[in-house]
Structures are given as structure tokens and as C-alpha cells.
């Protein structure tokens, strides 16, 4: 373990009522564990870990309803929760997914039905860069379509980053006005 940095641990629990058909998932479901690990590694790079060395930050994610974009939503929620907790970060981590329809057109933020039939890709970026922090693709996509898929997803991430920033500022403003009253 790196003692110069903050240690992140991520737990994801998926409620049985989150899907259309009730399904109880074991906690050691590999897909969920993989998701938790990817989140941990993504945020390890995004937080200013050296400011809180020898500290553990526990992130608990509870998924209450699922309709596509599971992974992306987990990352965005973690990002906002870390900001709310006051953990110093370099920038927002925003994630977004894109499906490929008809092997040609990219489809931003697919829902459950679209995800089950189409190949889709999830990307996380730290701040508004063209740099990809996390990328996950689990189904077949033609090599020549990858570029447009990634491009659309990154632009989705950027617009999400702006929206999160707006909400955080709005929330911060609300807090400050409440305090000054």
C-alpha cells in the first residue's frame, strides 16, 4: 500500500428492487467487484491523496434503481459525494456511456433496453480533457467505429462535468446563504 497517499475503498450494493425483475445479487458478484475496483483506481488519480496520507476514505454506493448507465452513474455519484465530503480533488470525474446503433450511429446515454441489445462503451474523464481515465467496453464494436464512439462519449462527459459544476455551485450557494441567515 502506498503510504504517501489516501487509501480509497469502494463498496457497491445493488438493491434487489433496482431491476424490473427482482433479483438478489450476491455481494461478491464479479461484475460489481470489477466496477468497484475501477472506481477506486479512477478516483485514486483524481483526489489529492498526498494531502491526506495514511487515511482511508470509504465510499459506499447503493444502487436503488437501474435503467442503463450503471457504471457511469456510480462514478458521477462518487464524484459529487467526494466534493460534498470536502475531499480535495483536481477536477470533477465525469463518466458517460454511448451505445452503437446499427453499427453506425452513436447513441449517447443508452437506457436498459438499449444497453441489452446494443454494444456500449463507458468512459470517465477527469475534468475537461481529451484524456480518458477509465474506459470499459464489454461487447463487440467494429474497430473503425471506436473513434466516433469515444468522441461522442467524451463530449457527453464534458457536458456532464459542466452540469455537475452548476449543481455543486448552486448547492454551495444555498449552504452559504443558509449559514449567513
Amino acid at each position: 500500500m502506498n503510504l504517501d497517499s489516501t487509501f480509497l475503498s469502494v463498496n457497491i450494493s445493488v438493491s434487489p428492487f433496482s431491476t424490473v425483475d427482482r433479483k438478489k445479487r450476491p455481494r461478491n458478484d464479479r461484475r460489481i467487484q470489477e466496477c468497484a475496483m475501477s472506481i477506486q483506481r479512477t478516483f485514486q488519480e483524481a483526489i489529492m491523496g498526498h494531502l491526506h496520507s495514511r487515511t482511508e476514505i470509504v465510499i459506499s454506493l447503493h444502487v436503488l434503481a437501474q435503467d442503463g448507465g450503471f457504471f457511469a452513474a456510480c462514478i458521477n455519484a462518487t464524484s459529487l459525494a467526494l466534493i460534498d465530503a470536502g475531499v480535495p480533488m483536481y477536477d470533477y470525474v465525469s463518466a458517460c456511456s454511448t451505445a452503437l446503433y446499427d453499427s453506425i450511429s452513436p447513441l449517447l446515454d443508452p437506457n436498459n433496453a438499449e444497453e441489452s441489445d446494443l454494444p456500449f462503451l463507458t468512459v470517465a474523464t477527469i475534468g475537461k480533457t481529451e484524456k480518458v481515465s477509465m474506459l470499459l467496453l464489454e461487447s463487440k464494436v467494429p474497430l473503425d467505429r471506436l473513434e466516433s464512439l469515444i468522441a461522442v462519449t467524451i463530449s457527453g462527459c464534458h457536458s456532464l462535468r459542466d452540469q455537475m459544476d452548476r449543481q455543486v455551485r448552486k448547492h454551495g450557494h444555498l449552504r452559504i446563504t443558509k449559514r449567513s441567515e
Binding site: S15, R22, H62, L64
Partner: protein, 294 residues
């Protein structure tokens, strides 16, 4: 939170006094403020979230599934998950079994879940306790109550009598036609008007006993000095089974006297209806808000 012996002794003495002095100046019959909202999950038949003032938070989702009646003995399945604790830890399984047996013993609920002579709905009540400072029983009970109030089941369109020919039940496509699982109780507490078929979910109220005093909705500090915990169920305007003592982490467990028990009875009789009325009001308000959205 750990308290010093002096703090615990002070707390115990003030709670033993007559009338008792609770650290937050509540009455014996008074609950802490809660923030409740129903129908928060689009994928569940019914759902609710309650936040307690001490930071406790509980989310309940109710889902229904059609099963052949003969295949299962229990039509209600309650599953409690407490964040931060392992699956199948004793607190979670105690809570699951309390609610599961209480709900399953309700004949009128079973009647309501019956679809045809062969098929029934099976209810899956999944409880997620996100955080809890004091014993989560009371919080979970309130949330389950609210979630069951908001539960809607699709309207059956096929014949209810399939004893001769087996027929898979068919439901109405329109969610607006769904029927609520519970009858929404009249907000005034007039139990005389209620018919036998009227049913509201049971509430289970947790109380802590200190000396000869007993009070509802104990805080974590009160739990530590209590000699025992006691829970009583309130359903359809009267006290009903179960009535049981419960270990709530007291440092010095003791039995309870009959005077305490009768005090407990009167507390539940005083506030049972009030609690169910307030939760019903929350549900009615949420329902109005959601219907005005369209």
C-alpha cells in the same frame, strides 16, 4: 457512542425519575422528527424513504411477483440489509424475521394478495438501512408501513376462477388502473366505521424500559441505560401480536414488571393511531403531488 459511567448514571437517574426527563425533552409518547417520502423508486411496486433526525436513514422497496399459491407457504418475503454490516448478520436477520412473521400472520393481507384460485402475488419487501444510530427496528417499521401504503398491484383482467382450467393471470396494461394494496385509512381515528375487510399494514413500535418508566423511540443513549427493549405491534386501530422484549444493546438487561407493561400498552394506544395517520398523510400528499405532475 461511548458514554462515561457518570454520564450513564446521570442519564439513568433522570430517565427513572417520575415523570421521566428525556435528554431531548421529549414526552414518553413522542417520536423524534422524521423526514418521510413515499413512491421514490420507479422500478418497485411501492417504496418509501425515511430519514430520522439522528442521521438514520432507511429505504424500502416492495416488489410483487405472481406465483402459484401452492408453491410457497409464505407470501411475504422480508429482506433487511444494513449498510456496513455483513450479509446475514444477526441484527439484520432478527429484523427480517420479525417483519416477515408479523406480515405473514395477517390473514387479510394474504387474502389481498390472492389473485385466482391457483395464483397469488408474492411480496418481496427489501429493506436497506443506510445508516442507523439507534436500534433500527422503529425506523424500519415506519418505512415498511409507508412503502406498503404506496404499493400498487396491477389490475387483473383475466378470470379469477381458474380452478377448472389452468390459466396464467393477465393484467391490465395501464398502470393508472392498478389497485392499491392497502385501504387508505380515514384520517380521523374513527375505528367504528371500519369494516372487517379494511386493512392497513401493522406498525411495530419500539420502546425502552428504564426502571418503572417506558418510552417510545429510544435514542442511542437511552438504549444503553435501558434494562430492556420492548416492541408492540399496532394494526388496524388496535394493539396486536407480536409483543416481545428485544435486546437493544443495554448494558444491564433485566425483566419487566406488569406496571411497565400496562404503561407500554397505553403509550401505544395513545400514539399508534397518530403515527399511522401522519404516515398516511405523507402518502396522500406524495400521491397528490405525483398526480398533479401530469
Amino acid at each position: 457512542m461511548k458514554y462515561s459511567p457518570a454520564e450513564l448514571s446521570y442519564l439513568k437517574e433522570s430517565l427513572k425519575a417520575s415523570p421521566p426527563i428525556r435528554p431531548d425533552a421529549r414526552l414518553e409518547t413522542q417520536l423524534r422528527p422524521i423526514e418521510a417520502i413515499s413512491n421514490i423508486l420507479p422500478t418497485a411496486n411501492g417504496s418509501a424513504r425515511i430519514r430520522a433526525s439522528d442521521g438514520g436513514e432507511c429505504i424500502v422497496g416492495v416488489k410483487a411477483k405472481v406465483v402459484p399459491t401452492s408453491s410457497t407457504s409464505e407470501l411475504i418475503n422480508v429482506d433487511v440489509e444494513i449498510s456496513g454490516l455483513k450479509e446475514n448478520n444477526s441484527l439484520a436477520s432478527t429484523l427480517s424475521s420479525i417483519f416477515q412473521s408479523t406480515l405473514n400472520s395477517s390473514q387479510s393481507l394474504r387474502q389481498r394478495l390472492k389473485l385466482t384460485s391457483r395464483f397469488s402475488f408474492k411480496l418481496f419487501i427489501d429493506v436497506l438501512v443506510l445508516s442507523n444510530q439507534s436500534h433500527p427496528l422503529g425506523l424500519v417499521s415506519l418505512t415498511i408501513y409507508l412503502a406498503l401504503l404506496s404499493t400498487k398491484l396491477p389490475l387483473l383482467t383475466s378470470s379469477t376462477d381458474d380452478s377448472k382450467a389452468e390459466e396464467v393471470p393477465v393484467f391490465h396494461d395501464d398502470w393508472d388502473q392498478a389497485r392499491p394494496l392497502c385501504d387508505i385509512p380515514v384520517t380521523q381515528s374513527d375505528s367504528s366505521k371500519k369494516s372487517d375487510s379494511h386493512w392497513t399494514p401493522p406498525l411495530i413500535l419500539l420502546m425502552a424500559v428504564v426502571g418503572e418508566n417506558i418510552f417510545i423511540d429510544p435514542t442511542n443513549a437511552e438504549e444503553q441505560v435501558a434494562s430492556t427493549g420492548l416492541f408492540i405491534s399496532w394494526s388496524n386501530g388496535s394493539i396486536s401480536a407480536p409483543l416481545r422484549t428485544l435486546d437493544i444493546g443495554s448494558t444491564d438487561p433485566q425483566g419487566i414488571s406488569s406496571t411497565v407493561l400496562s404503561k407500554a400498552y397505553s403509550i401505544v394506544e395513545q400514539c399508534g393511531q397518530e403515527i399511522s395517520d401522519s404516515l398516511t398523510a405523507v402518502y396522500v400528499q406524495d400521491e397528490d403531488a405525483s398526480s398533479s405532475d401530469f
